[in-house]
């Protein structure tokens, strides 16, 4: 176990043990999104009277359960611009925070095994280049140069036709990202309380004016829900109906593979993705479970189906053993795009709909939401992602999020 994971640690930069009675901003959820918002509020906008609450330890939810992939090759212009901003911010995160988050730019291949998906990937390349995310369409011979382990016949069943290649695709260590933001926020004067469950909202008229917690009630100028899977429960307290369903997403790692596996590889037809962690383990994920669930259980059927796909493309993996599997509960929005900003309830803001694509968005979402709170106006970059898009008939259907098909 490293020093950051899987336990409730004291936050060494904080002296307070009990929350104050009142804050300018209360953020529910001490994951990457909540902590990044607090960090940028304090460091970029001088709003330090901020409190982040987490029911367990920070990063215990989806921020500590994802597959750490950072990419921007989405399918709609608004999303590409947003995720490209996030990808760029990740590149500067270590120098900004002074924390080593093990950021590693390795490129991402998104493979096609049929004429139809090859066309999809060519379209993706055109779209991404047009919207500022440098990509190339690569041939099977070029794919072999990038990742020599590949069986281009796909086990005889899934022949590789080509792939889109996002040059900026990267990974970073997820719990280090959480801790970098937590440390930065705490040093700037933000309060973070772990093991403090929010169990209701305080309302005055139609406005949300605070939260009730296991450590008493706290008043707030605004309340931001940066909650993962349980966001519908929190929103119900604020009388906000959400286009969100909570699904289980599983992932697993194998034992260490001694050679380098350079890029992140996804497959459009097979719907799975694989990369190598800094420890050498192969980290695999695929689509979320079809039925809605708040259960973090994993299943043998999932391990079996993803392993079969992985071995078809990368025969060397047949000799590896599965070390560990886990699951997170994802807030999947009905148009597969995130939801950020104001709701119809004054004083209640949302950062949700992060589904299976939340980790890569942490810096951009945090900085944009901090700007929204500081200026009390929605920044242009996240205007398309407002909850009101559904009633304006401007849903942002994005079928290119990995794990959604």
């Amino acid at each position: 176990m490293n020093e950051f994971v899987e336990t409730l640690l004291d936050l060494p930069w904080q002296t307070e043990t009990e929350p104050n009675h009142t804050y300018d901003v209360v953020i529910i959820g001490g994951g990457g999104h909540g902590l990044a918002t607090a960090y940028y509020l304090a460091t970029r906008h001088g709003i330090t009277n901020v409190c982040v609450l987490d029911a367990s330890y920070i990063g215990s939810g989806n921020s500590g359960r994802n597959t750490t992939i950072i990419r921007s090759n989405y399918g709609i212009p608004e999303a590409i611009a947003f995720y490209q901003e996030s990808l760029s911010m990740y590149e500067g995160l270590e120098s900004e925070t002074g924390c080593w988050v093990m950021h590693n730019t390795k490129g991402q291949l998104w493979m096609a095994h049929s004429t139809g998906t090859a066309r999809t990937e060519q379209t993706r390349v055109l779209m991404n280049n047009a919207c500022g995310a440098p990509s190339d369409y690569v041939s099977p011979a070029e794919i072999r140069k990038i990742v020599p382990q590949i069986d281009l016949t796909g086990g005889g069943r899934y022949p590789v036709q080509g792939a889109s290649y996002l040059h900026g695709g990267a990974t970073a260590r997820h719990d280090r990202v959480v801790w970098a933001y937590a440390q930065g926020a705490l040093r700037a004067g933000v309060h973070i309380f772990q093991n403090t469950a929010v169990n209701g909202l305080v309302k005055d008229g139609g406005r949300v004016t605070g939260v009730t917690t296991s450590k008493g009630s706290i008043s707030a100028g605004v309340v931001l829900s940066a909650v993962g899977g349980h966001v519908s429960t929190v929103s119900k307290w604020a009388d906000v109906r959400l286009p969100i369903r909570t699904h289980t997403l599983q992932a697993f790692v194998t034992n260490a593979y001694a050679h380098e596996f350079a890029p992140i590889v996804s497959s459009n037809d097979l719907v799975f993705y694989v990369s190598q962690t800094a420890r050498g383990q192969m980290l695999l994920g695929a689509e979320y479970d079809r039925q809605a669930s708040y259960d973090r259980g994993t299943s043998f059927a999932y391990l079996q189906s993803v392993s079969a796909k992985a071995v078809a493309l990368f025969p060397f993996m047949a000799k590896l053993r599965i070390l560990r599997s886990w699951a997170g509960i994802c807030d999947i929005s009905t148009d597969f795009s995130p939801i950020m900003g104001y709701t119809n309830t004054p004083g209640f803001l949302l950062s949700t709909g992060w589904g299976t694509w939340g980790f890569k968005a942490i810096p951009a979402a945090g900085s944009q939401l901090a700007k929204l709170i500081a200026d009390d106006a929605t920044p242009d970059l996240i205007k398309p992602f407002a909850l009101s898009r559904f009633e304006r008939e401007m849903a942002m259907a994005d079928p290119s999020s990995a794990g959604t098909k």
Binding site: H230, S232, T233, R241, L242, P243, I244, R245, T246, R290, Q291, A292, S293, Y294, D295, G297, S299, A301, T334, D335, F390, E391, A395
Partner: protein, 79 residues
């Protein structure tokens, strides 16, 4: 969630089944027609607890049936 109870076949492995849908309900207190349409098209109850659903026994009797499942722990309940 390893076993599912099919009304025709009894307890069978989960992999034989395909998830269908929930029964979407637009709340009565939304009275505006446009708002009801938005709610019907996009919004979700996302219930944390027992929920009624349609499931399809794809690799079995190939019949649709209504099931009750607790989304907190994936326990299958009597309908």
């Amino acid at each position: 969630m390893l076993w599912v109870t099919c009304p025709n076949c009894g307890s069978r492995p989960f992999e034989e089944f395909r998830y269908g849908s929930i029964f979407p309900v637009t709340p009565d207190d939304i009275t505006d027609d446009d708002q009801r349409n938005v709610d019907y098209a996009w919004m979700q109850d996302n219930i944390e607890g027992p929920v009624l659903e349609r499931w399809f026994h794809e690799s079995g009797c190939r019949r649709w049936f209504t099931a009750k499942r607790d989304t907190r722990n994936d326990a299958w309940l009597d309908v």
